[in-house]
């Protein structure tokens, strides 16, 4: 059997395989260059970038929870200009599409970041982070209400010709209207899910373990919720590719998302546990196709659905 076709299209962009990194969990790729074959990725999704530099939240910023972790990084980043100067120029060595996750406090912020990044030619797609649970203002709110999400996506859409992905928050009663609003406003794809809001308490010190009190829950613990949301959005048949994430530790987990309706997947927390998870997932997806005698992985998208 010839090598299975793992490729997938996100807007105009063709990825050689559907495996990406989840924003914020793989730095700028370079941190993992000695531990994983970054160039084997379908795309590299890098950390959230904002207009101005951000210090981020006060520590502790991460805490382990059962089969998961809470993080409250708080969008620490050097700001879009430094990102363009210091970070992006190093990424072409991986020879894969680079997707920058963008965040901000206002629509104007997002638009400005999108415009600047688009001008550089160093970025192949943008992912709108409309769902950061760790920022006081902005981000999270956009992600909870279809009208404001639609407004945000439209404005960014007008500011860039790059393929545009909107990343959805799982902290909602019904994710479908948000997904629909993002697509109607011009999103070429949807990423889901971002983290669930959680708190862990140090019972001896009688205070929250995180400096920020709340954090975002990620890792295997949330996988059933993430698969369910992919399933729901896939059922709405919005006509755009879905990028599934949330607790993917291996190719089997990735297949859960694909069979539920995701066209692509992203690896987040797993990078911390097994730094070459990305490579194992790419290989494992190919093996799955071979074992199941499927030529194109995309033919399996949603195959667990009735």
């Amino acid at each position: 059997m010839t090598a299975p076709d793992l490729s997938v299209k996100i807007g105009d962009l063709t990825l050689k395989n559907p495996v990406m990194t989840a924003s914020g969990t793989f730095g700028w790729g370079v941190e993992y260059a000695m531990l994983a074959d970054v160039s084997a990725l379908g795309a590299l999704v890098v950390k959230a970038t904002t207009l101005r530099p951000r210090d981020g939240n006060k520590p502790p910023r991460v805490v382990e929870t059962p089969a998961g972790m809470l993080n409250a990084i708080g969008l620490q980043n050097p700001g879009v200009e430094e990102v363009i100067k210091q970070k992006l120029p190093h990424l072409d060595k991986f020879n894969i599409p680079v997707i920058v996750n963008i965040a901000g406090d206002s629509v104007d912020d997002y638009v400005a970041v999108a415009r600047r990044l688009s001008e550089t030619g160093l970025v192949q797609a943008l992912e709108i982070n409309a769902s950061c649970p760790n920022c006081e203002e902005g981000g999270m709110l956009f992600g909870l209400d279809p009208a404001s999400l639609g407004g945000l996506v439209s404005a960014v859409r007008a500011a860039t010709a790059l393929p545009l992905i909107t990343k959805l928050s799982p902290n909602v009663t019904d994710i479908v209207p948000l997904a629909r609003a993002a697509v109607e406003a011009g999103s070429d794809a949807l990423s889901l899910i971002n983290t669930l809001v959680g708190i862990a308490i140090d019972v001896e010190k009688r205070r929250p373990k995180l400096g920020n009190t709340t954090g975002g829950l990620s890792g295997p613990a949330i996988r059933p919720v993430a698969v369910r949301m992919v399933w729901q959005v896939a059922a709405a048949d919005l006509g755009v590719p879905l990028i599934g994430m949330g607790g993917i530790m291996n190719a089997t987990d990735a297949m859960e998302f694909i069979l539920a309706g995701a066209n692509a997947v992203a690896i987040g927390t797993a990078n911390f546990v097994t730094p070459d998870t990305i490579n194992k997932v790419v290989t494992g997806l190919g093996d799955y196709c071979r074992r199941h005698k499927v030529c194109r992985l995309q033919d399996l998208v949603g195959a667990a659905r009735p």
Partner: protein, 263 residues
């Protein structure tokens, strides 16, 4: 830096709560510098999920072995203390920066508290083995004699060695910072290297600042990736808002840290 399956050659329980693990990890043994750490996966399951950072206590490039000192403080360290000889441990390393080697000149002071003694032992070992470098004086403190794990490992690598326990069950009764005060008064040291509980290190940093003595502190923070990618392990700095313990540290010149907010 590599991801390694290291064989557990020995697991020696120490005192009540400690274990010394000897691992076969040639890549780490050959490349490690004192202050660096390894990031350990606890099992193949998903709970506990995250790796645990553990300082390298000793590295022997010839035998390809490293030693780690583990103190049981929770589930992860408990699993490590119970690790079976002959089994393997999945680790990333060596990670982080290291204690800067002192120039020729006066002796250096190593101030360790509890399990923080581990990287100081490695540092003392390198100082002792490197011709031309000045030797170390070790100061080691703990709540009581049962909290002075592997003290002979430090003592044997230092020219002078002093102990303080809060209850007086070993060495001087008092804090290790009392020992430091005496040493600073002697005025014959060139720098202080410290690792231990934060309140202790904060005190050491303050005393050194007072005495205009260079001070290097090895910090702890809860970690995600261990390789600088997630920005999870930061501590507040003076020049930069936040510094990553896993990549910018774990060793920091004391004056780069905002000790009032290092909680």
């Amino acid at each position: 830096m590599q991801n390694i399956q290291a064989e557990i050659i020995r697991n020696d329980p120490e005192l009540d709560d400690y274990s010394v693990l000897e691992l076969h990890a040639p890549h780490v043994a050959e490349n490690a510098r004192p202050g660096q750490f390894v990031h350990i996966r606890l099992n193949r399951l998903q709970d506990p999920l995250l790796r645990r950072p553990i300082s390298i206590m000793l590295a022997e490039p010839h035998s390809g072995t490293i030693r780690l000192l583990i103190k049981k403080v929770g589930r992860g360290t408990e699993l490590l203390c119970a690790a079976l000889e002959g089994g393997t441990i999945d680790l990333l390393g060596p990670l982080g920066n290291s204690f800067p080697l002192p120039p020729e000149g006066k002796d250096v002071l190593l101030v360790g508290g509890g399990v923080g003694v581990a990287p100081l032992i490695f540092f003392a070992d390198v100082l002792q083995k490197t011709p031309g470098l000045r030797s170390a004086r070790g100061l080691y403190g703990g709540a009581n004699e049962n909290q002075l794990a592997v003290w002979t490992e430090l003592a044997g690598r230092c020219e002078e060695f002093y102990v303080a326990t809060e209850d007086g069950s070993a060495g001087e009764q008092g804090l290790v910072t009392d020992l430091l005060a005496e040493q600073l008064q002697r005025g014959d040291a060139q720098a202080v290297y410290t690792c231990g509980p934060r309140p202790m290190m904060a005190k050491v940093a303050a005393m050194c600042a007072e005495a205009s003595m260079p001070c290097y502190a090895s910090l702890e923070q809860w970690m995600g990736c261990g390789v600088g990618a997630c920005l999870g392990c930061v501590v507040p700095g003076t020049e930069e808002a936040y510094l990553r313990v896993c990549r910018d540290g774990p060793v920091f010149p004391a004056e780069k840290l905002d000790w009032d907010n290092v909680i």
